[in-house]
Amino acid sequence: MDPLPSDAFDPRVLAQLRSDLGLDDRETADMVRQYLAEAPGLEARLVAAAAEDNAPAARRAAHTLKSASAQFGALHLAALCREVEALAQGGHLPEARLRLPAVHAALAEAEAALRPLAGEVG
């Protein structure tokens, strides 16, 4: 059964990505695996940059995680990253740091939703 839309993961967005790129099942699984491999590192870069008061690096990491997450349907995570990106761009790193636990939780939810689509067991 196909997963239902949720805040953590909207499968309709991934279906749109498949259609937009003309992906078959194997290519879709490859893309999801690539995202699952990359996203934790992006979060780690974001956390490290925020801890070091490096607003440009925090903005870049949030931007990249936002873009990747949005195209896979991890919409809650993408929305949080968009907030963090805007806060970092405005130099408001203390406020950005307050959102990092929510980013971490949203990433965990997105990973749990996407792993089955990559052929991985959660």
């Binding site: 990505l17 937009d20 790129l21 003309g22 992906l23 290519e27 490859d30 893309m31 690539q34 995202y35 491999a37 990359e38 992006l42 440009p56 690096a57 870049r60 931007h63 990249t64 936002k66 873009s67 990747a68 949005a70 195209q71």
Partner: protein, 133 residues
């Protein structure tokens, strides 16, 4: 057809490479770089026909996207550079990049039909890549 993809996200590079291969029926030769330093080295080695350039790069690794655009076009005035960005059309950075010599821009998330359209504009898909230097 030789392409150089410059994007700090491996996921975005994979999406773009897939779109390029589908848009060219598998005829695309794709090189990748994650930052400006890597892009300059890959460009010198591979002499790509087209560079697809994300505008948000790690500025500590040789500069951001706009800076790399200027560097590439200064060193290779005939280079064809297509911006790839999640910024909205008309954003000042896009306008600036187009004014500096970028050929076109693609909006993320990438669509194969949009890639195909830009390639047609470049004559690449028609196999006339030799005219594009």
């Amino acid at each position: 057809m030789r392409f150089l993809l410059v994007d700090d996200s491996a996921t975005s590079r994979l999406a773009l490479a897939t779109a390029l291969r589908n848009a060219t029926q598998g005829r695309a030769e794709v090189r990748e770089a994650a930052d400006a330093k890597g892009a300059e080295a890959a460009f010198a080695e591979a002499k790509p026909d087209v560079v697809l350039l994300d505008m948000v790069l790690d500025e500590t690794q040789g500069g951001g996207g706009l800076e790399l655009l200027r560097t590439l076009l200064a060193a290779h005035p005939g280079a064809r550079v297509i911006l790839v960005t999640s910024l909205p059309p008309g954003h000042p950075d896009i306008v600036k990049a187009l004014a500096q010599g970028a050929f076109a821009h693609l909006t993320k998330p990438i669509r194969t039909d949009a890639v195909r359209r830009v390639l047609q504009e470049l004559d690449v898909e028609a196999g006339r890549v030799g005219h594009i230097r």
